[in-house]
């Protein structure tokens, strides 16, 4: 199935610092979704990007979809301890049906 690669695997920041995670695909994606999973919790949908070059913001979170629709990023400005968790990107498989997840970036924020 469609593979999306995420980097970095882990990120440890001080509260107030910025954070960025990247998601890359070798093939063009029809869309990409981002999810957040808190420790011990289940993935929760954050956003979906569909258009080439699309940028969406949710408070301190900025999501981008690359011009070639092969990569995406999630940027958090001035992290807070509530941002702790693992951030996953997910994209449809080759069939267009399966929703395949990346391995995630685990964010740890220390006060």
């Amino acid at each position: 199935g469609q593979q999306v690669m995420q980097i970095p695997q882990y990120q440890h920041v001080q509260e107030g610092e910025d954070f960025t995670t990247y998601c890359n695909s070798s093939t063009t994606l029809s869309n990409i979704q981002w999810y957040k999973q808190r420790p011990g919790g289940h993935p929760v949908f954050l956003i979906q990007l569909v258009k080439s070059g699309e940028v969406k913001k949710q408070k301190r979170l900025t999501f981008q979809f690359g011009e070639a629709k092969k990569n995406s990023s999630l940027h958090i400005t001035a992290t807070q301890t509530t941002d702790v968790g693992t951030y996953f990107c997910a994209a449809p498989g080759d069939s267009g049906y399966a929703l395949n997840f990346g391995k995630g970036t685990s964010l740890l924020v220390t006060p």
């Binding site: 995420q6 979704q33 993935p43 399966a98 929703l99 395949n100 997840f101 391995k103």
Partner: protein, 114 residues
């Protein structure tokens, strides 16, 4: 609106035993997914249903895993026989459609095979 319901929350079994998980999706959601999430990894799609038909099961280990969604609502995932490497959280998710739609996840079933 009620979320995706899963049971049981936890299960411990011995290897070679069988186990079944149950999922009740959000009312009206035609698409249902089963994922396996091993500790420290991303969710791996096992099977995706559209109503009561399978649209993707390419990563389902069919020699030991089976799933059904009779009547296009509830679903069960079965493992028989279980292996140690099946220890994971099994997540059920549902969405309104099979493509380009947000997936809502249940709390998951944590399976430990000893």
């Amino acid at each position: 609106e009620a979320g995706v319901a899963q049971s049981p929350r936890y299960k411990i079994i011995e290897k070679r035993q069988s186990v079944a998980f149950w999922c009740n999706p959000i009312s009206g959601h035609a698409t249902l997914y089963w994922y396996q999430q091993i500790l420290g990894q991303g969710p791996k799609l096992l099977i995706q249903f559209q109503n009561n038909g399978v649209v993707d099961d390419s990563q389902l280990p069919k020699d030991r895993f089976s799933a059904e969604r009779l009547k296009g609502v509830d679903s069960t995932l079965k493992i028989q026989p279980a292996k140690l490497e099946d220890s994971a959280v099994y997540l059920c998710a549902s969405s309104t459609g099979p493509r380009n739609t947000e997936a809502f996840f249940g709390q998951g079933t944590r399976l430990t095979v000893v």
